[in-house]
Symmetry: C2
């Protein structure tokens, strides 16, 4: 994928196929309320679109998984856009300076050996589709480091709740300084 086609804009406002069912700050300041959300390929500029806010992120190579972990993820991960996946969540996260001051091996140790981030995620496949977007190195200032987009069927909502609870109980999450949870349903 080219750089442009890897970039996505999450546009909150009065348009878009996703209705905001709930938006709550988990850590740090909340995002402004909006009734709908659109996920757009490429860069959407807020003033032109009339959006309440726009968050941008780029799909990139994985930073932590090993080859066996990646093979497990790829084999079990569903595509986005399944007809039955009428629930979605957007979870923007910012990690603190202590996280980014660590070296790769230190971050990997906390991410997987201590927090089992990938292993926990695998427990909820193939029910919960997921796409991770990176914002930290976009060039233009962004309020978050990561945007994770999830899609699942309504019946899998309790499983999704458990996924979030397990990740938030991990040591990795002690480095999260801002997090908002936006739950959506397809209009």
């Amino acid at each position: 994928m080219s750089q442009t086609s890897r970039l996505f804009s999450f546009v909150a406002g009065s348009a878009g196929p996703w209705l905001v069912a709930d938006s709550r700050p988990i850590a740090g300041p909340p995002l402004a309320a909006a009734p709908r959300l659109a996920v757009a390929a490429g860069n959407v500029v807020a003033p032109e679109s009339g959006a309440v806010w726009v968050l941008r992120g780029i799909v990139s190579h994985e930073r932590y998984v090993t080859r066996p972990e990646k093979q497990q993820l790829v084999a079990a991960s569903p595509a986005l856009g399944r007809p039955e996946a009428t629930c979605a969540a957007l979870i923007p996260i910012r990690k603190n300076a202590a996280w980014w001051a660590m070296t790769q091996d230190e971050r990997r140790r906390i991410f997987e050996e201590e927090s089992h981030h990938t292993a926990i995620g695998l427990d909820y496949l193939p029910a919960i589709a997921r796409r991770l977007h990176h914002c930290r190195d976009l060039g233009e200032p962004e309020p978050f480091d990561f945007l994770t987009w999830f899609e699942f069927a309504p019946a899998d909502t309790p499983a999704f709740d458990r996924l979030l609870a397990r990740l938030r109980a991990s040591r990795e999450w002690t480095f999260v300084e801002r997090e908002t949870e936006i739950r959506l349903v397809r209009a």
Copy 2:
């Protein structure tokens, strides 16, 4: 450092404190010729600046070094802007799809255990100052993945030549699909 203050633009044209002494493609197509180069903080837009070309990159956390390697690098690395460092080089690099399809542990193995990238760099400290900029995930399409900026005294030019030769002989460099070497002297 904020996202904005980590972003730098390398502006080739008729202005700037660095005279282009040589610009040669090592792999892939060359960059257009220009007499001078400026290194500007933030985002410089080419049409407005009258530049021949602009390359942008963002300073970010290290992707491969371990804590002991980072400590060695930090202890030995000189600052940019030393008065005696009147020579500089800008080396933009793009790695191929096979590199980016590898997992982190696979890339680390080639980067350090096989290619000794950090160990080779340490051999030329504190003579050669270096700043790495990432372009791959900037959001706007960029022709390279990395821009590395080097500064050194004229007497250290042979050492810099050896540094480049050793890195280019490494297995890591078999994944480099585009590289240009721009040598500069302070005007």
